[in-house]
């Protein structure tokens, strides 16, 4: 039994083991989504619709990134001459295990006392460079923490002290990769994705949590001429530079041993001529990968031959439920491209497509397999093409939620539009995100949208007031019928999960991650970040 050491290590310091990770979300928050299903549905019921108005601020804590703060433990491969912003915004999950919170931003990691917000240790990574756009959080296994750095290292820390155990390169800095995802621990695998805006392939890897050795690598685009997906590309070189980054963590189904994750846009993103006319597999897809072998088991492509950087790397959600009168094991996704998909997660069979944003206009029809078919007229134009969604998407990385009590899938939605101008007339196109210039023209509105997967209809929408829109942050729901999320006005809000009615709010500043909940000393907490500050609310 490979996890025996965890069980015999004593009770002085609670650890994360497979049993805890497999539990439905409740007292702890031990992984990116809290549990493997991606539902962000907590079984906690102490905070109810009736008493949520009594939530009280327990503490706040403002992080200070950088080498000089909190006697930081210093690591990293950089020489210390380059520094980047981004370290002062919490844009990912915070782990809560046995009264300690584990928080990360680009190049920074902290352990924080969950009872008073005091910093226990701070680790700072001297970077080599790379895009510092955000960090989605850490993973934990035993006493070990794992997080990714923008310059593409997987770093493992001792959760008790913040001391570094080791770091391993994930992807070549020279190929302009950058890494934002939260790793996911499954059994003795640490699953690690990465990102890239040049034309390099999407890589998902499994590392050994003890040694940091690579166990397998999965590329989301073909790397060899005998890969059957090569025929969906102009040629092998195009495929090998085809993108498909997996920059948001996936979910895990222990029954099938499948890790299910969304892949990013094909590259070059906008001027796709050099990619050929094919579908460009397996970009903009939901892919199911055997967690022990790293082999692809099934895929479903939600944007064949995407031309708008509309990656499909949103968090999928695993749901067991009734579909057309028979029980199904499903995976549900609301994609950045404005369409919602229900698939059978055992086989990958398509069950339902719903266009959840009315203004979306990049596709001209839905094909027999439920896939939106791109309208080439809307690719881009020298004179400008008015397209919804704008680049940021109808939704983006902020995680959705699902409640088995209401049967509703909750997603932040922004009905945005932009003019896409073709600015590169070289018939070979451009590299990466080049070749076009996007100029926004605003939004027709932003919402929390509740989708009923059974009927394929919108059950309710809560529109954020105002004449424009914006990207709202992620969501979390509970067994007490509550739905929590940040709005566009700087409030953390509790909604009635049944109808979207507001029940409680606190104006804390622009919320920057998805709220979380856990139990501590017999009290339920609500934890949320607004930029550089954590807020812990509770019922006393």
């Amino acid at each position: 039994m490979k996890l025996l050491f965890v069980l015999t290590a004593g009770l002085a310091f609670a650890q994360v083991d497979s049993k805890l990770l497999l539990q439905p979300l409740g007292d702890s928050w031990p992984s990116y989504s809290g549990d493997y299903s991606g539902k962000r549905y907590s079984s906690l019921k102490q905070v109810t619709k009736a008493n949520v108005k009594n939530l009280t601020l327990g503490w706040t804590m403002r992080i200070t990134p950088g080498a000089l703060a909190n006697n930081a433990i210093i690591g990293g491969e950089g020489d210390g001459t380059v520094t980047f912003g981004g370290g002062n915004s919490i844009k990912g999950a915070v782990l809560q295990v046995d009264g300690t919170l584990y928080v990360s931003t680009p190049d920074n990691a902290w352990a924080i006392d969950a009872r008073d917000g005091r910093i226990l240790w701070h680790y700072f990574w001297k970077t080599r460079g790379a895009t510092h756009i955000g960090n989605r959080g850490m993973a934990m296994y035993g006493n070990w923490l794992f997080f990714e750095t923008p310059d593409n290292y997987l770093v493992s820390l001792d959760a008790r002290t913040g001391a570094e155990r080791w770091h391993k390169q994930i992807a070549p800095f020279e190929e302009q990769y950058f890494s934002t995802p939260a790793p996911i621990v499954i059994d003795n695998h640490v699953i690690v994705g990465t990102g890239n805006d040049l034309d390099e392939p999407g890589i998902l890897q499994s590392f050994d949590p003890e040694t940091g050795a690579v166990q397998w690598k999965f590329y989301s685009v073909p790397q060899t001429a005998n890969d059957p997906a090569v025929k969906t590309w102009m040629n092998l070189d195009a495929a090998k530079h085809g993108g498909g980054q997996m920059w948001v963590p996936g979910v895990y189904d222990p029954e099938t041993q499948l890790y299910i994750v969304g892949t990013g846009n094909p590259s070059p993103a906008y001027t796709g001529v050099a990619r050929g006319e094919g579908d460009n597999l397996y970009t903009c897809s939901t892919v199911a990968i055997n967690v022990d072998t790293g082999k692809l088991v099934w895929y479903y492509q939600s944007s064949p031959h995407d031309t708008h950087d509309a990656d499909s790397s949103q968090t999928p959600i695993l749901v067991d439920g009734d579909f057309n009168g028979r029980p199904r094991k499903m995976v549900l996704t609301a994609a950045r491209n404005g369409y919602f998909f229900a698939l059978d997660r055992v086989t990958g069979q398509h069950l339902r497509t719903l266009k959840y944003s009315d203004g979306v206009n990049w596709a001209k029809e839905i094909n027999a397999n439920g896939q939106p078919v791109r309208d080439p007229v809307k690719d881009h134009h020298i004179g400008g093409s008015l397209v919804s969604p704008a680049n940021s998407g109808i939704t983006n990385w902020p995680p959705p939620a699902y409640s088995p009590d209401t049967g509703l899938f909750y997603v932040p939605q922004n009905d945005n539009f932009a003019m896409y101008y073709l600015t590169e007339t070289d018939p070979r196109g451009a590299m990466g995100l080049g070749g076009k210039e996007e100029q926004g023209v605003g939004s027709l509105g932003s919402y929390i949208t509740a989708i009923d997967y059974k009927t394929g209809k919108i059950a309710w929408r809560h529109r954020f007031p105002g004449t424009n829109g914006g990207g709202a942050m992620g969501l979390m729901t509970t067994a007490a019928g509550l739905l929590f999320g940040g709005d566009l006005g700087g409030n953390i809000v509790a909604y009635d999960a049944a109808n979207g009615k507001t029940l409680w709010h606190s104006h804390i500043g622009q919320v920057s991650n998805a709220p979380e909940t856990y139990m501590l000393d017999g009290h339920q907490y609500l934890l949320v970040a607004a930029g550089d500050t954590l807020f812990a609310f509770t019922l006393y």
């Binding site: 200070t64 950088g66 080498a67 000089l68 950089g78 020489d79 210390g80 001459t81 380059v82 520094t83 980047f84 002062n88 080599r128 460079g129 790379a130 390169q169 070549p172 020279e174 190929e175 302009q176 950058f178 890239n196 805006d197 040049l198 390099e200 090569v230 092998l236 070189d237 090998k240 530079h241 050099a274 009315d358 203004g359 206009n361 809307k378 134009h381 004179g383 400008g384 008015l386 003019m419 101008y421 007339t425 070289d426 070979r428 451009a430 590299m431 995100l433 080049g434 023209v441 007031p465 105002g466 004449t467 709005d487 566009l488 006005g489 700087g490 409030n491 507001t502 709010h505 104006h507």
Partner: protein, 295 residues
């Protein structure tokens, strides 16, 4: 296995390239001049504070001019036919700027096996070349002089975005815009006042997006409380409060509880947004082609 030696350029060189970088995420991939790395190791750098800026992927320090010149001449004679004189690829050869082999190469050591050993590249017709080591280093110096950036700057920009039919644009304008706007009234001379056609197009599609020197009309708010109407310009609104600027310039924030009090917003540009799901790109291009003629 790549060396773990620090591969960023000299601090001074980095600063220069930061200043030159058009896009903050831009600049070329890491320079790897080993002499630079050694020189830098002598003076310990200050610890970063976590703020500040920097080139995400610093440009490589350029090879000496004579190396680049020899490399360019050799490249154009022997390689450009397939890979393009700008190394961005052609019908026969791959784009070398984004090539994983070139990106990971320092001074030709990764390029050499592809050229000289006849290993080629899987799935391609890459032939074998009998270059010597100096020639390969020259080629590497030339190839590493290109700017590499995922936010690839456009090199061949269209001369104008005006592609529509002015006559059709005038007809559309008459049907959809004429109730509020007039070519001889508010839009008289618009093509002279806004000389850049793309700016003009963006502005007529959604004037509230603003822009330099543009005054946009605010959304107005009417709050009905206790039978009284409070009016002003909208500053902010959420489910719990609305803030408006009153005629005397003072801000006033009013609590909201659902529909109480009644809050009505009037966005002067709402008719523009209503068109987003109505008109076609051709309509847009035609209207712009018409508006640029209003001198």
């Amino acid at each position: 296995m790549k060396s773990t030696v620090v591969k960023l350029g000299l601090a001074t060189a980095s600063a220069v390239f930061i200043a030159l970088s058009v896009n903050p995420a831009g600049a070329q991939n890491a320079g790897k001049n080993k002499a630079d790395a050694k020189a830098k190791a002598a003076a310990p750098a200050p610890l970063p504070t976590g703020g500040g800026g920097g080139a995400a992927y610093p440009q490589r320090p350029p090879a000496p001019a004579d190396v680049r010149a020899r490399g360019e001449a050799l490249y154009k004679a022997e390689c450009g036919f397939c890979h393009g004189d700008d190394a961005r690829g052609g019908d026969m050869g791959a784009n070398l700027i984004r090539s994983q082999i070139v990106l990971n190469d320092d001074e030709g050591e990764r390029i050499a096996p592809v050229l000289t050993r006849g290993e080629g590249v899987e799935g391609t017709m890459m032939p074998k070349f009998s270059f010597n080591q100096n020639q390969i280093a020259d080629l590497a110096g030339f190839l590493h002089s290109f700017r590499v950036n995922g936010y690839d700057g456009s090199r061949n920009r269209p001369e104008t975005i005006v592609v529509g039919n002015a006559q059709a644009g005038q007809a559309f304008f008459g049907q959809r815009c004429g109730s509020c706007h007039s070519a001889t009234g508010d839009l008289k001379g618009i093509g002279t006042r806004i000389t850049d056609a793309r700016t003009l197009q963006q502005r007529w599609i959604n004037p509230s997006a603003g822009g330099r020197g543009v005054t946009t009309r605010p959304t107005t708010v009417t709050v009905t409380m206790n039978g009284q109407k409070i009016e002003g310009n909208l500053l902010r609104i959420d489910d719990f409060t609305v803030t408006l600027t009153q005629a005397d310039g003072r801000q006033r924030t009013i609590r909201r509880d659902g529909d109480n009090p009644k809050v009505e917003l009037k966005d002067p540009y709402a008719p523009h947004k209503e068109l987003y799901t109505v008109y076609t790109d051709t309509n847009i291009h035609d209207v712009t082609a018409y508006l640029v003629t209003l001198k």
